[in-house]
């Protein structure tokens, strides 16, 4: 690059020479010579001379920036490795980290424990999707298009109209269809669906946009709402290792009729009232209900012959209650101070 202005020429020569010997190549951009040129520019009267001078100074700066970039790129000498070797040259065999620092994520450990209970209760397991379509998330669950019940679900939507499921019920239609042949051979459908679900809401200590849910589905002949309550109670009692009282209260979901919310008698205070249950003796855990006949029919199951129930609850909440965790955001923080406590 050549410059017509003698001042710029002089600066260029000086800087280029210094650049070669520099340790920190980036510092060339802070050189006094360059700053002096800009200061000089300010003193020039407006006009063609000033414009030309400015152009050359900028040109010089760009040239230096390019040199810095090139130097940084070549600075990195990437040595190829023998990728098949078990260890580096002149190095010892790498060791694994100490077992005492290892940890499993508390949500995943809890999920394993809960699934184990459901296995023992006779429930199969089907994992939920993380990206699904409107049909499975809403339509197959008796939410017509534009139905106001959709307002309760702030879903993430992709450009293609795909949905980040807001509940594991997004798998219900698939599960019902898959197990329908067995049902018709006299085998009730008993499946739990664990999965990661999403709500498009702002984060705070009590709200996460990402959390884990577990859904249960049971369909057979003459299945009634009392069976539902008993199943939830049996699971909770096993989970907490003691008899747990439960109550079911009316709620509204389009995919169940009747719909309920269920609460467990607080296992931390024998329902006497404590911090955990906000002194009510009850902990609200999730939603449930008798599967709506339209949902059964959508999966090809004869709703006059079969009936069933479904329930769902959040795993994060159970874990937070269990360990008295103060902030739901810890779960997805990958913070070792948090994780290594489990």
């Amino acid at each position: 690059m050549s410059y017509s202005n003698p001042e710029v020429q002089a600066a260029q020569a000086a800087l280029e020479q210094r650049f070669e010997s520099m340790e920190d190549k980036r510092s060339i951009l802070r050189a006094p010579e360059l700053a002096a040129l800009y200061d000089r520019l300010k003193t020039l009267p407006a006009g063609e001379a000033r414009a030309n001078f400015g152009k050359e100074v900028n040109q010089l700066k760009l040239e230096l920036e390019k040199k810095v970039r090139e130097a940084q790129a070549s600075d990195v000498k990437v040595e190829p490795l023998d990728v098949t070797a078990p260890m580096d040259i002149n190095a010892s065999m790498p060791e694994l980290l100490s077992a005492e620092n290892g940890s499993c994520h508390p949500l995943m450990s809890e999920m394993d424990e809960i699934l184990n209970i459901f296995y023992r209760m006779g429930f199969g397991v089907v994992e939920s999707r993380e990206l699904d379509d409107d049909y499975h998330m809403f339509t197959s669950l008796n939410f017509p298009a534009d139905h106001p019940a959709r307002d309760e679900y702030d879903t993430f939507v992709t450009d293609e109209g795909l949905i980040a499921p807001a509940h594991t019920s997004t798998m219900q239609n698939r599960v019902l269809k898959e197990y329908k042949p067995k049902l018709e051979q006299g085998q009730p459908i008993a499946v739990v669906i664990p999965g990661r679900v999403f709500r498009n809401e702002d984060l705070d200590a009590r709200h996460e946009h990402t959390f884990y849910q577990l859904e249960g589905v049971y369909v057979g002949k003459d299945v009634h709402a009392g069976n539902l309550a008993a199943t939830i109670r049996a699971w909770l009692s096993n989970y907490y290792g003691r008899d747990i009282d439960i109550k079911i209260q009316p709620f509204y979901f389009p995919f169940t009729e009747p719909s309920f919310e269920f609460a467990a008698g607080c296992p931390f205070c024998d329902q006497k009232g404590c911090n955990v249950c906000s002194y009510t003796g009850w902990i609200e855990l999730g939603g449930c209900g008798m599967i709506h006949p339209s949902v059964l029919r959508e999966a090809g199951i004869e709703a006059s012959t079969y009936s069933g129930f479904a329930w769902g609850f959040g795993i994060d909440r159970l874990v937070m209650l269990k360990y008295d965790i103060e902030d739901v955001r810890h779960f997805e923080s990958a913070n070792l101070k948090f994780l290594r406590q489990f």
Binding site: P86, H105, G124, R129, D151, D159, A164, A229
Partner: protein, 828 residues
């Protein structure tokens, strides 16, 4: 839905203690968010008579008043006549008026909920004021703070203000979503009926609330109105009537307190009546200024149609919204005067000068109302109600009720016939619901009579026709269509606490285990036992993270409505999320760790109609070491983890191949090709990638000098598992000897090892030798970079004999010559 208990009690007894009632509502109607004891807030407010009001000696705008409270309040300073002195700043205070007094030590009601302000006797400019005379704003019953509340109706001096105005009330806030399907529960009448029902009390709707109302036609049509319903598909019923001789003014305090109890601001008598009737019945109404309507369009007309792009409407409050195609609008001639079901227009609003009005009571499609409300961000009480599907069969009753109230409170007279445009209105459909069916779904054994009573209490009709139990819902229940709906009704009214807690029948066939989940559990325990930490990170990433690791954003599913920019894209692979978590942990004081996660990756591709993207199950592990003491490249540390994992799950013999330079997979983008490998299973299936990271990736994510990781397809890994191989324990001793081979630096470890292990395998198969080959070290002299030395430790044995020295030497000699022959290796 805010429910005023006193309002409800106008229709049903509801006499049980409040705690029990709230618990019962929660158990049999819907979850209660909050209960506010209004009575507590107003307990000290007393109705007083102002006996004298004189100008304050030292302040022009203040008056010194003497008030008579009939000696109701204790511990307050009184003059010789028993009157109390209060300083008041309101311009409207005058002798002989009735006002509301907040005595010393009482809390100003409007401040009670947030930041309670307790009054006292204190001097104002040298004159003692014992508490205060209160404005509507201070009482929390309205916005007016320009003057004190003037109780124009008769009030008893010394009476409790709360009792006189039914403010000794409880406000029970029931979650709106409970009533997504219950339009009737958005009015006090509906709530009262349900409370009666769950208390097993029969409820009878008041006379005015029926579908066949006859409204008297006025003698003359003094205010003609042309009513039309262009959007009849979306507006199933459009009903309007004109009224003249209106005197607009503030509503009586009594009406204002009805509204303020449920959180509605009083406006004027006409608007207040429409709101009162809305909160009573659930059916919204709207009042227009007849003369403004006529002046605006040049004709006395009211109609509906679908909006057109670019039309404008100034809504109540003054904001102008630009309309798009597809909403229902209310029109007068060619002018838009309201957004149907959502909000009225400002240009036809009823104000203090209004003399004539149009009252409209319409039925808007619930789904379209929701769409419109969301589209324009207008979430009004009317929209809340219409989106639940109000019954069009109640319009006349509600309209008549409003006409009557406006007649009483604003002097209005009917000025034209009720115009009621509708096609066939759907009547409640009878539902067949056998008692046996209801019992089978609830596990109960209710009798016909039990069910008749439960349903009859809330005005359902049950009859036996042709041997079938037929349940006919009342006209306001638009939600009842299926026998299951009757099951819900009966179960709830009866009480879910009576359900029998029997576990369902189960078969003894063992349920299927989800293999993928079981496999993840195994990996979790293997890696955590090796000191690694399982993490969970979001499925969504910021676009800037994709840029940093060189993954093309076009390959990721873009989320169009994320609240936070951190959640713009579905992640393609897991490694970028893990790398993002390395630096924060180093900053937190952890200098050496391995993070791993099992999750899903999504790569965007063109999807056929109804096709869903493939969800790849991934295991990723990132190793990071910021200590200076470590020896060797981080790559080998990651490889150590992967080899250990493969061995633990018996998926051994993984193949590591240099990255082909042309490889253009998103998953390999963060990895430095010179220091990374493709990983394949022993039978050649592509498993994933392992390696160190590109310099710019390391720099932008502030990775320590030693960082490496791997990312694998979990399903491929799961399939690579095999059964553990067992070898019988040998009773003959084992001979252990090392072998060091010098070879050209370009010879890979794997190539050299392959030669040795193949040679050993041959003597194993042919002669029965048992061997173990273990790497010990790789050495290179700094001055001799062209060559390297590899050392292995070999353990040899034979199931039938003790090995002799000659035998061992000959085997090592054989290995030596193989090395010489295959890769020109020489024994050292």
């Amino acid at each position: 839905m805010k429910v005023s208990l006193n309002w409800v009690k106008e229709f049903t007894e509801a006499s049980m203690p409040i705690d029990q009632l709230v618990a019962k509502i929660g158990a049999q109607l819907g979850a209660v968010d909050d209960v506010v004891n209004l009575g507590e807030r107003y307990k000290d407010a007393v109705i007083v008579k102002v006996i004298a009001s004189e100008k304050h000696p030292d302040a022009d705008k203040l008056s010194v008043c003497l008030i008579d409270d009939n000696n109701k309040v204790q511990d307050v300073e009184r003059n010789s006549d028993g009157l109390v002195q209060v300083v008041c700043g309101a311009p409207n205070v005058h002798a002989d008026m009735l006002a509301v007094w907040l005595p010393p030590k009482s809390v100003v009601p409007a401040t009670a909920a947030k930041d309670p302000f307790t009054l006292e006797a204190r001097e104002i400019r040298g004159v003692v004021s014992n508490g205060m005379l209160a404005s509507a704003q201070e009482l929390g019953i309205g916005d007016d703070h320009t003057g004190i509340v003037d109780i124009s109706e008769t009030g008893e001096v010394g009476a409790s203000f709360a009792q006189t105005y039914a403010l000794d009330d409880y406000i029970i806030d029931i979650e709106n979503k409970m009533f997504t399907h219950r339009p009737d529960c958005f009015g006090m009448l509906g709530i009262a009926r349900e409370i009666a029902g769950i208390c097993n009390q029969p409820f009878v709707s008041p006379d005015w609330y029926r579908q066949d109302v006859n409204i008297q036609t006025p003698v003359s049509e003094s205010l003609p109105l042309a009513v039309s319903n262009g959007a009849s598909q979306q507006v199933s019923r459009f009903t309007a009537v004109t009224m003249s001789n209106i005197t607009v003014g503030p509503s009586p305090l009594k009406l204002q307190t009805y509204l303020s109890r449920v959180g509605v601001k009083p406006i004027n008598n006409v608007v207040d009546v429409t709101n009162y009737v809305t909160w009573l019945s659930g059916q919204p109404l709207h009042a227009y200024d007849y003369d403004k309507l006529k002046a605006l369009s040049g004709q006395a007309a009211l109609g509906t149609r679908i909006s057109k792009d670019g039309e404008e409407l100034r809504i109540i409050g003054g904001k102008t919204i630009k309309l798009r195609d597809g909403a229902v609008v209310i029109t007068s001639g060619d002018k838009v005067v309201g957004l149907g079901g959502v909000m009225g227009g400002a240009d036809t609003e009823v104000d203090e000068n209004t003399k004539n009005i149009v009252l409209e009571c319409a039925s808007f499609d619930m789904n379209l109302t929701r769409k419109t409300s969301m589209e324009y961000g207008l979430f009004t009480d009317a929209a809340t109600r219409f989106t639940k599907g109000q019954s069009p069969l109640q319009n006349l009753a509600v309209l008549c009720r409003a006409v009557e109230e406006i007649g009483k409170l604003a002097g209005g007279k009917l000025a034209g016939p009720v115009q009621d445009i509708h096609s066939d209105l759907p009547q409640p459909t009878p539902v067949f619901a056998e008692t046996s069916f209801i019992n089978s779904r609830l596990g109960l054994s209710l009798t016909d009579a039990d069910i008749d009573k439960l349903l009859g209490n809330v005005e359902f009709k049950v009859s036996d026709s042709e041997g079938k139990r037929t349940v006919t819902p009342p006209f306001w229940r638009t939600d009842i269509a299926l026998p299951e709906d009757i099951v819900e009704e009966v179960g709830r009214l009866y009480g879910y606490e009576h359900l029998p807690l029997n576990l369902p029948q189960r078969s003894v066939e063992p349920p299927e285990v989800d293999k993928q989940l079981a496999f993840k559990t195994t990996i979790r325990s293997v890696l955590s036992a090796a000191g690694a930490n399982e993490v969970l990170t979001y499925s969504f990433v910021n676009g800037s993270l994709l840029d940093k690791v060189g993954q093309a954003k076009e390959a990721a599913f873009h989320i169009k409505n994320a609240l936070s920019p951190a959640l713009q894209y579905y992640r393609i692979s897991l490694m970028p999320s893990l790398l993002e978590k390395v630096h924060p942990n180093i900053k937190n004081g952890f200098d050496k760790f391995a993070l791993f996660e099992m999750g899903k990756g999504h790569i965007k591709k063109h999807l056929k109609d109804g096709e869903l993207p493939n969800e790849m199950n991934i295991l990723a592990l990132a190793y990071a070491d910021s200590t200076k003491s470590a020896d060797g490249a981080a790559y080998y540390q990651a490889k150590r983890y992967l080899d250990y994992l493969a061995q633990a799950i018996s998926a051994g013999g993984l193949i590591y191949e240099p990255l082909p330079p042309e490889l253009d997979f998103a998953i390999v983008k963060p990895f430095e090709p010179q220091r990374s490998a493709l990983v394949k299973t022993a039978d050649g299936n592509m498993l994933g990638i392992i390696g160190e990271f590109k310099t710019d990736v390391a720099r932008s994510l502030k990775l320590p000098a030693r960082a490496a990781g791997f990312e694998l397809d979990l399903s491929v890994l799961a399939n690579a598992q095999s059964m553990k191989a067992y070898y019988p324990l040998n009773k003959y001793p084992e001979t252990i000897q090392d072998i060091t081979l010098r070879m050209a630096s370009g010879t890979t470890y794997a190539a050299a090892e392959k030669v040795l292990s193949e040679a050993l395998m041959t003597i194993g198969t042919e002669q029965g030798y048992i061997y173990q080959l273990k790497p010990l070290g790789i050495f290179q002299k700094p001055e001799d970079k062209d060559y390297k030395q590899l050392t292995w430790r070999i353990a040899l044995s034979h199931p039938d004999k003790t090995l002799t020295t000659e035998e061992v030497n000959s085997i090592f000699g054989m290995l030596e010559s193989s090395a010489k022959e295959k890769f020109n290796g020489s024994r050292v």
